[in-house]
């Protein structure tokens, strides 16, 4: 039962639904830990490529060197520094994922608002397009794009990832905004001639913000994993570029003699995923 109607006599209503305090602090701890992990990874991805050695520099005499203090993750089969390669790969994954998520978010939100606002044939056309995308598995769309341009260019990967993801934002924004636009509050603001900017700023964005943030953090995970999946099956980016999935594949032949090579990118993928998922607010604020 909701407390709100019963507590009308409360002189200073607090609003919102009080969650159990224990659960709330637990949620806060998880989010703080996730944020710290994510910040550490981002720091590594930003500082690593600047501070560490050139990841492409080969030294065949130091082939499959085990980890040492100077080289904490050892060297790979070409004698390249695994740590330096890892930093580059992490940066690539984060930047590409962030770019494609931002593009998908922008595209999906704008089309969603357009469909929710205009309705009619605009809505029908946009919905048709979005359903075509829903019908295809996301990875297939990225694969199609990767196959269109040979040589595994970053550009096609970016477009493919963004196209695979915009549909989610479109559908959520369209459904939510259609509901918000039909409320008396929006009708009242029309009667007050407050203009469409007010409706977006005061009615739609506050309502959508939380959901979009959650979707975006999930989208980052999906994009990073999709990228490394493609790298793993060797249709994504091509060597010598460093990419997390590609690094795992390349390390496979040496898993018995140099397990650190495969474990390092896997650990980064795992931490990225957990940290991004942990950032979400678990209780959905209505």
């Amino acid at each position: 039962m909701s407390l709100a109607p019963l507590l009308q006599s409360d002189p200073a209503p607090t609003g919102g639904h009080p969650a159990a305090p224990g659960r709330r602090t637990a949620g806060r701890t998880v989010r703080a830990l996730s944020a710290v992990t994510l910040l550490a990874l981002v720091g590594f991805a930003l500082a690593g490529p600047v501070l560490l050695a050139d990841p492409a520099q080969q030294d065949l005499s130091r082939f499959l060197e085990p980890p040492t203090l100077a080289e904490p993750l050892g060297r790979d089969d070409f004698g390249r520094s695994v740590l330096a390669r890892l930093a580059h790969a992490t940066r690539l994954s984060l930047v590409l994922a962030a770019l494609s998520v931002a593009t998908a978010l922008l595209l999906g939100t704008l089309t969603g608002l357009l469909a929710g606002w205009r309705g009619g044939w605009v809505d029908a056309v946009l919905r048709g397009i979005s359903e075509a995308f829903v019908a295809l598995p996301a990875l297939l769309i990225v694969l199609l794009f990767a196959a269109l341009a040979a040589g595994g260019s970053l550009w096609t990967l970016y477009v493919g990832l963004a196209l695979a993801q915009w549909v989610e934002y479109f559908r959520v924004v369209r459904a939510r905004s259609a509901r918000v636009l039909a409320t008396p509050a929006v009708e009242a603001s029309r009667l007050l001639r407050l203009g469409p900017l007010h409706v977006v700023r005061r009615h739609l964005l506050p309502e959508l913000r939380g959901t979009l943030a959650t979707l975006a953090s999930l989208g980052m995970v999906t994009a990073i994993l999709a990228m490394s999946t493609l790298g793993f099956v060797k249709v994504g980016l091509q060597p010598p570029r460093t990419e997390l999935g590609l690094m795992v594949t390349e390390a496979f032949p040496h898993y018995d003699t140099a397990p650190w090579m495969a474990l390092a990118p896997v650990a980064v993928l795992f931490l990225l995923t957990v940290a991004l998922l942990g950032l979400r607010r678990t209780e959905v604020t209505r």
């Binding site: 039962m1 407390l3 709100a4 109607p5 019963l6 507590l7 009308q8 006599s9 409360d10 002189p11 209503p13 607090t14 609003g15 009080p18 409320t183 008396p184 509050a185 009708e187 009242a188 603001s189 009667l191 007050l192 001639r193 407050l194 203009g195 007010h198 005061r202 009615h203 506050p206 309502e207």
Partner: protein
């Protein structure tokens, strides 16, 4: 003979006392009605009896039902649900399960072993038949009108054959005819030897039920006695204020204003031959109406006859099927404003009220002093603007909606049941504030209501809808 007595009930939330030492005694055949404004603790009292208060609230007190004592702190009500004790909740259309048809929903309350059994279904059918709802047995809750939902909820609450019926705000959102029907049912429950506790802010219903009356204010019982004496010759100050807040007894300055009917040569809004319907039902047909400057109109009629739709059509918010609605140039966009039945829904939900109001000021270049002056005149503290809509009471928020509507100096205000969710005192305050502004600015008013008393007190012209339609 069964009686229910309650001694020294208190309800606390932290250090705040929400219900303070209430004693009451229910006897078979004698209704007990608790009246008071919102926030006086009367609903909490009902929930304390039922054992349905949230865990954060601390309850203390003793209850005795037919000689058996119970400690209210242990929430004993739960064990008695359905067999001895039942509650008819507020807003039954929200209390019914939207995913269940009417008959199985009523059958769940039957005092048989399995709710799905034939005996339960038969009991449900009998209960529904008795209420004239046999046709609705297979309907979904969303297909019912407010009054029908109320009667279905009554059937579900009483099908188990309870002695004690607790009714929480049964008249909320219902028109007079529906309130009369539910009052008949409650009287019938008493006639069968049942016990009845009604929580309401509707004095008309309290008068109809008769019996004992309890007046609550600020968590305490301030007045008690036989209903008729209390309401007809109130002696306590608060009771007197409560009775004086009934629209039929209002005395305000703006009511005296005489309006010259032929003041304006051209009407603000003229509707000619307007027809509107949804699907197969026609709401109104061939209706013509002219609203002049400063006129006060009421659209009255039972729920669901299209009063709001007509108002929206007059404002140009809803298209009409046939006919024409013309606006005078004086009624330029922005000069027609609307007040909503649920003010919470008429403000952006997640934004501080100050920002929402600030947008209006900026957009239309209104002087900052004006809202401050208006808020002061309707008795709202400026610091309320830092809150979000759900953090204000309905009355406060509706008064703020009046302020917002008046900022643009409208020529016409359409008030869509602005006070139907408010108690009598808040209703009087809100209407007083609206009408003072309307009177001062000389704007026209279209008021939708199903309260004839309110319509008579506030307006001088009426359109009655739905006279030709059945229930």
């Amino acid at each position: 003979m069964t009686t229910l007595t309650i001694d020294e009930v208190t309800v606390h939330h932290g250090a705040t006392r929400l219900v303070d030492a209430v004693d009451l005694r229910l006897e078979a055949g004698v209704p007990l009605t608790v009246v008071g404004e919102s926030g006086s603790g009367k609903s909490l009292l009902a929930h304390a009896l039922m054992g349905t208060l949230p865990g954060e609230l601390r309850v203390a007190g003793r209850m005795a039902l037919g000689g058996t004592p119970y400690d209210l702190a242990t929430r004993p009500g739960r064990g008695l649900w359905g067999s001895r004790l039942a509650m008819l909740p507020q807003e039954p259309s929200l209390a019914l399960d939207p995913t269940m048809r009417v008959r199985p929903q009523v059958a769940e309350g039957a005092s048989v072993r399995r709710p799905g059994s034939r005996a339960a279904r038969r009991a449900a059918d009998r209960a529904l038949d008795g209420l004239g709802l046999a046709d609705a047995a297979h309907a979904w809750p969303h297909q019912l009108s407010g009054g029908m939902a109320q009667r279905v909820a009554y059937a579900a609450a009483t099908v188990g054959g309870v002695d004690v019926l607790i009714v929480d705000e049964p008249s909320k959102g219902l028109d007079e005819a529906a309130v009369d029907r539910i009052a008949d049912l409650l009287t019938a429950h008493l006639a069968r030897g049942g016990l009845l506790l009604t929580i309401t802010h509707d004095l008309r219903l309290a008068r109809r039920l008769g019996g004992e009356l309890l007046v609550m204010q600020g968590a305490r019982v301030v007045d008690r006695g036989p209903g008729r004496t209390l309401l007809d010759e109130p002696t306590h100050d608060y009771t007197r204020a409560l009775v004086a807040a009934e629209p039929t007894r209002w005395k305000h300055e703006w009511m005296a204003t005489t309006r010259d009917p032929g003041a304006s040569p051209e009407p603000l809004v003229s509707a000619s031959g307007v027809t509107k319907g949804y699907g197969a039902t026609t709401l109104f047909r061939d209706l013509s109406l002219e609203i002049g400057t400063g006129e006060r109109w009421a659209l009255v009629g039972p729920s669901g006859v299209g009063k709001t739709t007509l108002g929206n059509a007059l404002l140009g918010l809803a298209p009409v099927d046939h006919g024409e609605v013309r606006h005078h140039p004086a009624l330029a966009p922005g000069r027609a404003q609307k007040l909503y039945q649920d003010p919470v829904l008429s403000f952006p939900r997640r934004v501080a009220l100050g920002s929402a109001l600030g947008d209006v000021l900026r957009r239309h270049g209104v002087d900052r002093k004006r809202p401050e002056r208006l808020m002061e005149s309707v008795g709202l503290a400026p610091d309320l603007l830092a809150r979000r809509p759900d953090q204000l009471s309905g009355g406060e928020l509706q008064r703020l909606a009046v302020v917002r509507a008046m900022l643009l100096r409208p020529a016409l205000v359409f008030a869509d049941e602005p006070t139907s969710r408010l108690d009598l005192l808040s209703q009087e305050r809100t209407m007083d504030c609206l009408m003072t502004e309307v009177d001062a600015s000389g704007c026209a008013l279209v008021l939708v209501t199903h309260d004839h008393g309110l319509a008579a007190a506030v307006t001088d012209r009426q359109v009655t809808l739905g006279a030709q339609r059945g229930p």
